[in-house]
Symmetry: D2
Subunit: 305 residues, 4 copies
Amino acid sequence: MKKIKPIKIKKEMKVSELLEEMSMAGFGARKIGGALKIMKKMLSDDQCKVFLGLAGAMVPAGMKEIIIDMLKQEKISIFVTTGANLTHDLIEALGGAHYSCDVWNDVDFSKKGFDRIHNVFMKNEVYEKLEEFFEENWEKFQNSKNIRDFLEKIGKSLPEGSNSILRTCYEKKIPLFCPGISDSGIGLMVWGRTIAGKKIQIDVFDDMKEIIDIAWSSKKSGVIYIGGGFPKNFIQQSLQFSKGATYGIQITTDRPEPGGSSGAPLEEGISWGKMKQEAKKEEDYIDVFCDATIALPLLWAGVKS
Amino acid sequence: MKKIKPIKIKKEMKVSELLEEMSMAGFGARKIGGALKIMKKMLSDDQCKVFLGLAGAMVPAGMKEIIIDMLKQEKISIFVTTGANLTHDLIEALGGAHYSCDVWNDVDFSKKGFDRIHNVFMKNEVYEKLEEFFEENWEKFQNSKNIRDFLEKIGKSLPEGSNSILRTCYEKKIPLFCPGISDSGIGLMVWGRTIAGKKIQIDVFDDMKEIIDIAWSSKKSGVIYIGGGFPKNFIQQSLQFSKGATYGIQITTDRPEPGGSSGAPLEEGISWGKMKQEAKKEEDYIDVFCDATIALPLLWAGVKS
Amino acid sequence: MKKIKPIKIKKEMKVSELLEEMSMAGFGARKIGGALKIMKKMLSDDQCKVFLGLAGAMVPAGMKEIIIDMLKQEKISIFVTTGANLTHDLIEALGGAHYSCDVWNDVDFSKKGFDRIHNVFMKNEVYEKLEEFFEENWEKFQNSKNIRDFLEKIGKSLPEGSNSILRTCYEKKIPLFCPGISDSGIGLMVWGRTIAGKKIQIDVFDDMKEIIDIAWSSKKSGVIYIGGGFPKNFIQQSLQFSKGATYGIQITTDRPEPGGSSGAPLEEGISWGKMKQEAKKEEDYIDVFCDATIALPLLWAGVKS
Amino acid sequence: MKKIKPIKIKKEMKVSELLEEMSMAGFGARKIGGALKIMKKMLSDDQCKVFLGLAGAMVPAGMKEIIIDMLKQEKISIFVTTGANLTHDLIEALGGAHYSCDVWNDVDFSKKGFDRIHNVFMKNEVYEKLEEFFEENWEKFQNSKNIRDFLEKIGKSLPEGSNSILRTCYEKKIPLFCPGISDSGIGLMVWGRTIAGKKIQIDVFDDMKEIIDIAWSSKKSGVIYIGGGFPKNFIQQSLQFSKGATYGIQITTDRPEPGGSSGAPLEEGISWGKMKQEAKKEEDYIDVFCDATIALPLLWAGVKS
């Protein structure tokens, strides 16, 4: 039996010290502390391939640098995210920006050409730079084998050293998947070209082979789900063809009761073979109920210490 | 100023009578009542094209008949759903079933070959029938123009009058979109064939043209979002090319604070031009915070009365 | 193994028919259906004392008639609610009203003297009638044995047949508890008198004896928690001195993760002896994740059929 | 227009540095950063009386040291909490402990005499020490003017320097309110004595005078709500007799839609006069959607830097 140790805050405390304290407390505090321990285990296990799924508008919310840093550590084997995150990443790589808003009126925003994402917005005009980018690089994208390859080509087309998720995946050779790419601004750019008669054809099913191959051939695997959506589901699906994940962390505020994949606890994955039968709750896998923009910076600061 | 009228329950009450009472109460009760009024307006407006987005495992949860009934009323112009819902629909069309579980152990379920989805499960063996179906009909799917066309071909391959969403969309000629099709059991069936060398190529971007064309050419549009995910986002994206939706209903339990598309209130869409600037909150569009398996049957029973 | 039966909606459907359908579906639909069955068992078990806890501003939201109807059925043995609900009940009994608001500005509301409760508001001026009532009846309240007795005296002071929770509990001799009475408009009325030198003294601990005696002497007990708060906790506490509840229903949207009593699943009560060890999940007790203004009318309409 | 600045994590980062980064990001991260700024303003404003409300089982979860530290800083003018938190505080002051559990079975726990609170539990036997304490000190509690006075006498009865909220409030002369005291283990101790014929009488309404007097006489006030419940509501009620709070922070994961006080945004208080009309959203008051066991340690570490 392990006693709860009340959290003590000291002056000039380091994040790692706070997380250590949290790991000995209760409720969500202990979950964050526990998630850090699992994340460290997963990232330092040389036999383990780490699958990172990222949903929610994490780039507009300012999580980009953390993701890039995670990717640069060369511990992420597979990265799956939404078309929206990649679009916002590309927008920033091309000089666009996101802004904060604390009060707003959506009708006014519409008139000003401001697109709102909760307490963040961007100017509609960012699409102009996107258009230019796709216009200039269109030919490079023609013979994309699949979506992953298409995204790699986008990353390759950005200047070296660009502070971008797309570029980092390219430079670090991390397979970047986005099965829902058509559901995004990048998709709209492709649509814009194709209605102008500039044909491209990218197969929707081809990526599956690559992600399933990686899952299949992994000795061990670990998952980090920041938000749910198809990034989580696409990874989960591939893991059915693995031995089941050895480690898992999930950060979401979605409820399990309405039965969607995003809110499903990791434990449910055991029944499907997505998570190992032997995996222990809270020790090997953990569900963290927290806004990812709070939990992710905490965890990453903990890992970096 | 409108007084709150306390809800009176009478014996043998009809759902429509209860909903009428709820529309004069407060909190979520009034939201359900209000959503019904908007749904009726939307469905009876001949100029309005209705876009239905369905996420979450609604077929396993027993919402299939309601969806099929909605589609058969010929009031839904566009239907977007997840690959999972279509897979489960196909599974049932091929004779498979879903079962209820109130207590469970995921390790036991794994050993028994039971795949759990919250308080519902199915047997792993359902995939055998899926395999057979794809094996038998594979050639028919070869020349699919896009995902919508591929799904139409699946629907066409089912027996006439099958009690199925896929079949109903085919019979009723309702465009059925699923940008994330690779992220599903149907995707796995395609993967299984392609690794066996049976090639198929379906373009991931081509569907956009069709849905955007419909949005663009609509005099008026209305949206019904049951859950969020890419079904919502894909419709929202296409509406940027319309005059903005005139009507909207959203049923979700996701929080808006973590900033994901699924939890974003419909009002946010005004800033993007996805919802009309003139649309009035609670009168033209409404966000219902409720498990869809509770709210949807209520609303549909209200519409049918 | 019980197959999920998809919900079928028919024309002019009765609420009871819909609930029967819901009980054979999945997710929250089945929970509502299951809660109805447990509620019926509990209310028809002659040996069972039913403890009803009501939190959240259910009177402003229009749930008053349902609660009164529940109390009039003479199946509720104990009723615990918040001071707020009793204050709003008294306000309505004295001729005041609640109004609906769909859009609002809190600064404007403040200037107009409108007090907002989510999408409901009342006029500040309702307090005048409350003041008069307490002024006129003050002497009757002097020798209140405890809070329950004080509330009974308030109920007694209302005209016979008043459409009021307070009056109904008095007429039906249902013990009405409200440990947090000082945290309410009724509390403010008492405060107003006492600062004017009109002394009253009501012991804060005396009610415990009565509720614990009822719990202690019950052969069987059942709990219905609409919202959490102290109404739930006060009942749970008394049940530690019973054999543990045989039946239980809880309707709440609070999360369990932050560890508060309001969001705690009923199962947790087994460890404390508040719920029987033999009680079966989903058959004897059930947690419903739903806005109570949606779930309660549904359930009560189901019971009344 | 303020650009979102992506959060950068550096090695050995201090919590204060992380919070500064978070304040320039989006979604919940910015909320935490904003809450820190408001907390610092509130605590350093000499004219401002700070009302702290604490609900949820924060002592079992290991938040005790932070609360004690907050109280010792002599910046908290009023403290309102639940009887449960005070009971658990007293239990620990008397040598009892709380333990962590990551997996559990409530029937087993019941048999072992373990009382569970989410992922924390305590042994039933802790009540023995409580009994002894009340038995020994009972006479001291006899002439308690009101609940606050009773709690002060409990604090006084603990050894000097006890690591306890009750003791700290006594030593620091911070008025400690708990309108729902009967709804707790401390209440049960009183009940135990009174049924043994050891009379005590504590008026339930008398505390209101004291808290309202403090609110009334405050030049400025600020509120910190950790969780909702009656601690929040009791403070909010008293503020109707003030000029309205100048500053406010609320940490809760409760939804606003079901209309309860716990989930109501601070802005709603403006309509009631509980919050100043001039108070600016996100600058003067802010709602943080986060498990308090995560947000509170972060914020307090930020304040202490």
